[in-house]
């Protein structure tokens, strides 16, 4: 992705044969995130103003952290985002992640991720670009087949 000019907003979508509730659980429960989110374990009460942390698989290290800005299950979850797995990214300003789940016909849901407020966080923007693509395709595969993607 190095030739791509990074902008302050990134948008990703995927259609998943699953209910909004199933997708909500997959985003907010660690037993699911460990299978598609680079092994990270999500940890949050989801109350606005409370923290949301992505722990490393051994729970020793915070990979990401942020604060819940909005939580409307099973439709919309928004929080601030800092990448802590890399020092130069951790030093950048916090950005913002919004998950939206919209039910479609035929038991399919449309899931979108908007990662914005990246104006002052170019290293984070570059790093997450390929990551969201991998995460969303892994999430779809997990929910539709019950199997995680091969780890790369």
């Amino acid at each position: 992705m190095s030739t791509m000019t990074q902008t302050a907003v990134q948008v990703y979508t995927v259609f998943i044969k699953a209910s909004p509730e199933q997708i909500w659980d997959a985003i907010t429960k660690p037993e699911f995130t460990s299978k598609y989110f680079y092994g990270s374990l999500v940890d949050s009460t989801l109350e606005p103003g409370s923290p949301i942390i992505g722990w490393s698989p051994d729970r020793e290290q915070k990979l990401t952290d942020g604060e819940i800005l909005e939580s409307d299950p099973p439709h919309r979850l928004r929080y601030s985002w800092r990448s802590l797995w890399d020092e130069s990214q951790a030093a950048e300003e916090a950005s913002r992640v919004t998950w939206e789940i919209e039910p479609q016909e035929g038991g399919v849901s449309k899931l979108s991720v908007v990662h914005d407020r990246l104006e002052h966080s170019p290293k984070t923007a570059e790093s997450v670009a390929g990551g969201w693509m991998y995460i969303l395709s892994g999430l779809k595969t997990l929910l539709e087949t019950g199997e995680p993607l091969a780890q790369i």
């Binding site: 030739t3 791509m4 000019t5 990074q6 902008t7 907003v9 990134q10 948008v11 990703y12 979508t13 995927v14 259609f15 979108s112 908007v114 914005d116 693509m133 991998y134 969303l136 395709s137 779809k140 595969t141 993607l149 091969a150 780890q151 790369i152």
Partner: protein, 117 residues
């Protein structure tokens, strides 16, 4: 999941839409523009093509329906973003087994080096 004896697989509408969208050179060129500069308005995309606004809109609609382009409102403008997820899923479908093989080959190599080293 179909078995190997399937003679005529039932087409997956989502897959069909992706391949149909990618079959057109103008639509691939639109994706190339968005790859170079993500998050463009209709006007910006239109300027790059010798085509009516209606024509560009029609192509964008096909790309959006296939999930290859995602739109998002920023302030007053509706911006178009390249959404690579469907292409990633095509990759996963046919390339994953090679990746797995590479990963397991590396794991074997590591084990071997550690045992002999």
């Amino acid at each position: 999941m179909g078995s190997v004896t399937d003679r005529s697989p039932i087409p997956d509408p989502a897959d069909e839409a992706v391949f149909r969208a990618l079959a057109d050179p103008t639509r691939r060129a639109i994706l190339d523009r968005l790859f170079e500069q993500d998050g463009q308005s209709l006007g910006e995309i239109e300027r790059a093509f010798d085509m009516s606004r209606f024509g560009v809109m029609k192509h964008l609609r096909v790309l959006e329906d296939a999930g290859l382009v995602a739109t998002h409102r920023v302030g007053r403008s509706k911006l178009h973003f390249l959404n690579p997820v469907p292409i990633r899923l095509i990759h996963d479908r046919w390339i994953d087994k090679y990746t797995e093989h590479r990963v397991s080959a590396l794991a074997d190599l590591k084990r071997e080096l550690e045992e002999t080293g």
